[in-house]
Amino acid sequence: MKTIRTNKTLKILPIIAVLFWVGCEDLDFPDPNNPTDDTATIQSLVTGAEAAMRIDLGVYLRDLLVIGREAYYLEPADPRYTGELLTGPIDPGGFLCYRPWQTAYKVIANCENVIASADADAGATGVAKTLEAYSLMRLVYLWDTNGARLNYDGDITADVATKAQVLAEIESLLDAGYSDLGSAGSSFSFSLSSGFSGFDTPATFALFNRGLRARVAVHQSDWSDAQTALDNCAAWAGSSDSDEGVYHVFSSGANDQGNEMYEDPTATTIKLMIHPSFYTDADAGDTRMSDNVVVRADTIIYDELESYLAPSLYSGSYDPVPIMRAEELQLLQAEVHIGNSDYSSAETIMNAIRTAAGAAAYSGTDASNAVDRVLYEKRYSLFLEGHRLVDMRHYDRTDQLPIDRPDRGDEIVTFPIPETETPG
């Protein structure tokens, strides 16, 4: 009897099993990891754009610093920093090239999303257009005459825009953004990070917009547009604090990131080493050199490059990195004066900065030395901010940048358009 009962129980098992199978879960479920596009809000897009500007900021700055002969990046784990970045040709598929490109377009994608969004108010579009222009400006810094893409739809058969077209787009975005900010009321409907502290209302953010407008105009020697823009942000340019400005900020918070430029200057080996000419070219007493570099007892040699200068501009992994500071605006003003042949006004501005830095004041600034002088001031005032290469290009002086290894074919390289951006 017992056996029979067992068999009956066992007979039911197949039926139970089939019922169990039928009851199994649905196969169509959402991504367990990430939100979909429709989750994005104006706030998350603006914050995302601001955060994305810092992605691979280290690579972007190193590219500019190494090509501009401001620094070496002695990275034994990757020969490209001391190889193609100095000798060319740049690998259009390599990270030195595609990472800064990709960062700029991530920011642009977010900005475009904001601009296209029905939820965006004038403040949001004003910010988005300004940040988009800033990202395009970073592309011009590295890609220069090779241009950049202005179509964001992934169509690689469309022509790559020329440098002139990109500059025109930057100007038009900045001007449109400025106009939007003018009608955006007294406050934003979203928040910006502390990097925009003091520039976080439509009126003050507009100062940043004009600062960028002045920069792009100066780079084109468009002195009158530059002067107009500088006049529109005079409140900032005239600040008693030369560091007042807009910054990339960092933190150890979730999904945030750190300052990739920081290294302890006293560590046995470090990677970002300052070009020795920064030391030898400095004027006596100039604290912009002595305060920002550590002269090491040892010389680090790698790949036929040598340096004893370690940067000490940053003191920690979360120090902010400038996007634009008042001091730059002052120097842009000096450049405009020089462009307009007003050398004494330029000298006044430069001397104020030099005196503050402990260097002897200039006298006799004239057409023969004005550009040299303003380039020196920009080089030392905007140390590690990545403007030297662009300034040297602007004045057609890249041939004055030091070439350390002529036998290796070192030259001043221009970045190629990344290989995924063109067919073939």
Partner: protein, 970 residues
């Protein structure tokens, strides 16, 4: 009672005289009774199994043929003579495994002699001749068509198992592992080392750090046999998950009879197998030229003369003696209704670098119970704890890993802790002192795993010529893997950090579940047998990993909360699959076998979760039997079938990524754009083969040719970054893989007697060749680090594993510099036995194949390569235009395993009260011959990536190991 009725019924139908036949089934060699042997009347389902004493009894008519079958023995057929009522039957061990069954479906098997595919089977005994840390390593050289590559020599493994060449460019490359009918997990999880070495970020699409494979947890000693379904034609019944083949592992089941205990203990040691070598600086001037005066002067003695120091840091760092201890204990026994196997293993193997090693503790209980004639239940449970300390090796963007650091440390510089106080000098030429790092770096992986499976076989009805069974198999596989990576703040490498000291804690858990419900109908009629099966499968995969990276550690503390900052990553992967299948198989007489089947699959990973993907199969074989007085058997076979490879679970989703600033949530476009219509990759394979056995088993040959057509290849295509994303998933390519496999077994002593010597030789030879036949996107480079550092090229008409570099032709097309895929592989397994002594060894040869040897580049950059003066400068100088010098052939010959066993004569072991006693010496990877200049010609920085793996950035070096084994039975 039911059984008797059936027999009565049969007897009446046949109208023959019948009566009770009884007897004992025993082993022809040992005379031991075989408990649980199945005895049945040929052509019917009338039968029984032998009891605890090996005895059977059934009703049979005169002239009936009794078929007596037991696993591992040749099936015996005995005709019931007139008036015979007692019939004792002796079974012989099936050395050639012709009567072994091989899998044809999810619930069915066929005798190997009928099989339509070349299904390779290896017994558990052959696996553990020389011990391996992990199961997958033990497969090396044992099968034709199974290409095994150790990605690293690090404890705990990291092994690429490739069956029959490439079938994917982006998908999983690893075969499906099925243990006791249940799909088990073979994840390779990122350890977190990548983040500290900055080789790549957390959750990278292309993790480095050479992770372990979870299949390595399985104790090889528990394995009864391994069957390898190499291609789509054999694996079609596994559908959308089987395009890389299926490895079916059967663990030991109990046998009825006296309980037998097996105990073995091993001790051994391992040491470095191959070195890179280094440059010796003969003079101060030579050092000064390379490193400048500051560094060169470190090579001077107190008097300022060149001291001529030459510290061999490979020897110093890789020179630990890895000690091994292994104990295994198993018990096997049961009675006619209940059988059990209990297996346990303890293994502790030290690595050849300080603070590295592997430990495993495994316990298994397998129990089978027959409730009645109709119902049988088998349960398997396995608990495992495995732990690996792996050091820090391989690619690096911080110059922390051992290989990198040594490459940047000239041998005249002394970085040793000379006074032994645990404090090491700073390395003047590299950001880290590898000796210091090795002494304090922690990279520990601890896995706890539980596997369970349950098989329920129920006979719904049985008649004389047909039976109908229900078979349910359910299983679960759960693991928890904890990776702890810790680098203390006081190390040189941390000095430059503003928050020195880092700790990474990764906790990964995963649950796989399986349920398979099948019905099996068998029909026998006039010399023909038909087996029809149908079934449903349901599988889930639920993976969850949380990763915390802490920086700025409080001195002495390792917990991730004792830090100044933390970054957290959380990743999940979830998959649910449903399948259904139907299959009919038939045999006509002994000669003809044919099968047809169809499997349908639908999965959560497919873009359309409603559209069933169908995978057909068709197979046939014909046996000529004895032929021409030479062939014992000759078989022609043909099989054709299709399988799939699932898209990655995330491939179908287009989402946004998190990018926060100042504590506010931000979203940006995801790097990879999903594809909402993605479908599995599909492999269609046709296989032809000839199997033969000659001259009374003197020679056996198994030869196969196959051709695979792979369509709907899933590509991770480059998108222009100007669109906001970098990559996108696309079904956009086709590929063709062709190959031949040839296995020759020789038993010369069957032909000529060599004084009691029994000699078996087996050779496995195979080739595979793949070609991309269609691409819907432009050809592209993939894998490696950059084109000029060597990369793979995906282009129509090319092998998918072709390697290119900077070199281009005049028209801009790339020059092929090499190919990861070997020209052929061949292995020779020899086993010789004279009386109590048995010697076995396996030689494994790989001809051709290339790897990108960036280990040489690292040394070249450091100015320390052994041939730096002759070639290093040129290699380096040409970089950017010439990549070829860094692409090297990976041809090698290895003595994989060797063993020498002495078995105490039975009379002596009987006296000692032992079943048997064996003493053995064995060695693994004792010898390697290669021109490859890196640490190992078997290498992959990128783990088991389909394309782009063979990149050498100085992994954990390989070791050779020797063991002494004592095993005994009770």
């Amino acid at each position: 009672m039911h059984v008797h009725k059936t027999i009565l019924f049969t007897g009446l139908i046949l109208g023959m005289a019948y009566g009770a036949v009884s007897g004992v089934v025993f082993d022809a060699n040992t005379d031991e009774p075989l408990v649980g042997t199945s005895v049945f009347v040929k052509g019917t389902f009338v039968g029984t199994t032998t009891n605890d004493q090996g005895a059977y009894s059934l009703e049979a008519a005169t002239g009936d043929v009794l078929v007596v079958a037991y696993i591992g023995y040749k099936t015996q057929e005995v005709t019931v003579g007139d008036g015979v009522s007692e019939l004792d039957i002796a079974l012989e061990i099936d050395v050639l495994q012709q009567d072994a069954v091989v899998v044809t479906g999810l619930a069915t098997t066929v005798k190997r002699r009928n099989a339509a595919n070349a299904v390779a089977v290896v017994s558990g005994e052959d696996l553990v001749n020389a011990p391996t840390q992990t199961l997958d390593q033990a497969l090396s050289g044992k099968f034709a068509g199974v290409n095994i590559r150790r990605n690293t020599g690090a404890p705990g493994g990291g092994v690429n198992v490739n069956l029959r060449g490439s079938s994917t460019l982006t998908g999983s490359t690893q075969p499906l592992y099925v243990i006791d009918g249940v799909i088990v997990n073979n994840d390779a999880n990122q350890s977190g080392v990548d983040v500290i070495t900055k080789a790549t970020g957390a959750g990278s699409e292309r993790p480095q750090g050479q992770p372990t494979n979870r299949i390595g947890d399985i104790n090889p000693n528990d394995v009864e046999s391994i069957e390898v379904l190499k291609g789509a034609s054999a694996a079609a019944m596994y559908g959308a998950k089987a395009s890389n083949g299926v490895i079916i592992i059967n663990t030991k089941r109990g046998k009825g009879g006296k309980t037998k205990f097996n105990f073995s203990t091993r001790t051994g040691s391992s040491s470095l197998l191959q070195k890179m070598g280094h440059r010796v600086f003969e003079t101060y001037a030579e050092a000064e030229e390379q490193f400048g005066a500051d560094i060169a002067s470190l090579g001077n003695d107190a008097n300022g003369n060149w001291a001529g120091n030459d510290f061999d840091y490979e020897e110093i760092l890789y020179g630990e003696e890895g000690k091994l201890t292994e104990h295994t204990l198993s018990a096997i026994g049961g009675n006619e209704r209940t059988q059990f196997y209990i297996g346990s293993q303890y293994m502790d193997e030290g690595g050849i670098i300080v603070n590295t090693g592997y430990k495993k503790l495994s316990g298994r209980i397998n129990v089978s119970h027959r409730f009645s004639e109709k119902a049988k239940l088998s349960v398997s449970t396995n608990l495992i704890r495995s732990e690996a300390d792996r050091g820090v090796t391989g690619n690096d963007n911080t110059n922390m890993t051992y290989g990198f650091s040594i490459g940047f440390t000239p041998s005249f510089v002394n970085i040793q802790d000379t006074d032994g106080d645990g404090e090491f000098p700073d390395n003047p030429t590299n950001p880290s002192n590898p000796l210091e790092t090795a002494a304090y770096f922690v990279n520990n992986e601890l896995t706890h795993r539980a596997l369970g499976s349950l098989t329920f076989d129920y006979n719904l009805f049985k008649k004389a010529n047909q039976s109908f069974n229900f078979l349910a198999v359910g299983g679960a596989d759960f693991y928890n893997q904890e990776n702890e990576v810790f680098i203390p703040a006081f190390l040189q490498i941390e000095e430059a950090n503003d928050e020195p000291g880092q700790s990474v804690m990764t906790t990964t858990d995963n649950l796989n579940t399986n349920l398979s419900l099948n019905v099996v109908h068998k029909l026998k009629m006039s010399g023909m047998n038909f087996t029809t099966t149908a079934g449903l499968q349901y599988e889930t995969y639920d993976w969850n990993s949380v990763f915390v990276h802490a920086t700025g550690m409080i001195p002495t503390q390792t917990n991730v909360d004792k830090a100044s900052s933390q970054a957290v990553y959380h990743d999940r992967a979830k998959r649910q699959d449903r399948g259904q299948f139907f299959q009919v198989e038939g045999t006509v007489g002994e000669n003809i076998y044919a099968a047809f089947g169809m499997r349908g699959d639908v999965s959560s990973t497919m873009g359309d979760t409603e559209a069933m993907e169908w995978y057909p199969k068709l197979a046939a074989s014909y046996q000529f039997g004895e032929l021409a007085g030479v062939f014992d058997n000759l078989k022609l076979r043909f099989a054709s079938g299709e399988t799939g490879n699932m898209p990655q679970p995330k491939a179908k989703y287009t989402t946004m990524s998190s990018a926060n600033i100042g504590g506010v949530n931000g979203l940006i476009p995801a790097t990879t754009r999903g594809n909402s219509v993605v479908v599995p990759e599909r492999t269609a394979e046709t296989e032809f083969g000839v199997d033969l056995s000659m001259m009374n088993g003197f020679a056996t040959v198994e030869a196969s040719m196959y051709s695979q057509n792979i369509t709907d290849l899933i590509l991770l295509v480059d998108l222009p970054a100007s669109s906001g994303s970098l990559y996108g998933w696309e079904n956009g390519g086709e590929m063709e893989t062709k190959g031949t496999e040839f296995t020759l077994g020789l038993n010369p002593t069957k032909l000529v007697s060599l004084g009691g010597l029994d000699w078996n030789l087996r050779m496995n030879y195979y080739t595979t060749e793949s070609e991309v036949t269609k691409l819907t996107v432009d050809p592209y480079n993939f894998g490696g680090f950059a084109t000029f550092l060597g990369t793979y090229r995906i282009e129509e008409g090319w092998s998918p594993t072709a390697i290119v570099g900077s070199e281009t032709n005049a028209d801009g097309s790339f020059q092929k510099l090499g190919d990861e895929n070997p020209d052929y592989r061949v292995s020779f397994h020899n086993s010789l036995r004279v009386g109590p002594v048995e010697v076995a060894f396996l030689i494994d040869h790989k001809e051709g194949g290339h790897a990108i040897n960036l280990a040489n580049l690292i040394y070249d950059l450091g100015g320390t390569t052994a041939d730096y003066e002759e070639n290093g400068g040129d290699r380096l100088g040409g970089l950017g235009a010439v990549t070829q010098p860094y692409v090297e052939s990976t041809t090698y010959t290895a003595l994989r395993d060797v063993s020498l066993t002495y078995t105490l004569p039975g009379s002596l072991s009987d006296k000692l009260g032992l079943g048997y006693l064996k003493l053995g010496f064995s060695g693994r990877n004792l010898w390697l011959d290669t021109e490859y200049t890196g640490l190992s010609p078997e290498v992959s920085q990128f783990g088991n990536e389909a394309v782009g793996g063979s990149v050498d950035t100085n992994p954990f070096p390989l070791s050779k190991s020797m063991y002494l084994t004592l095993s005994l039975g009770l």
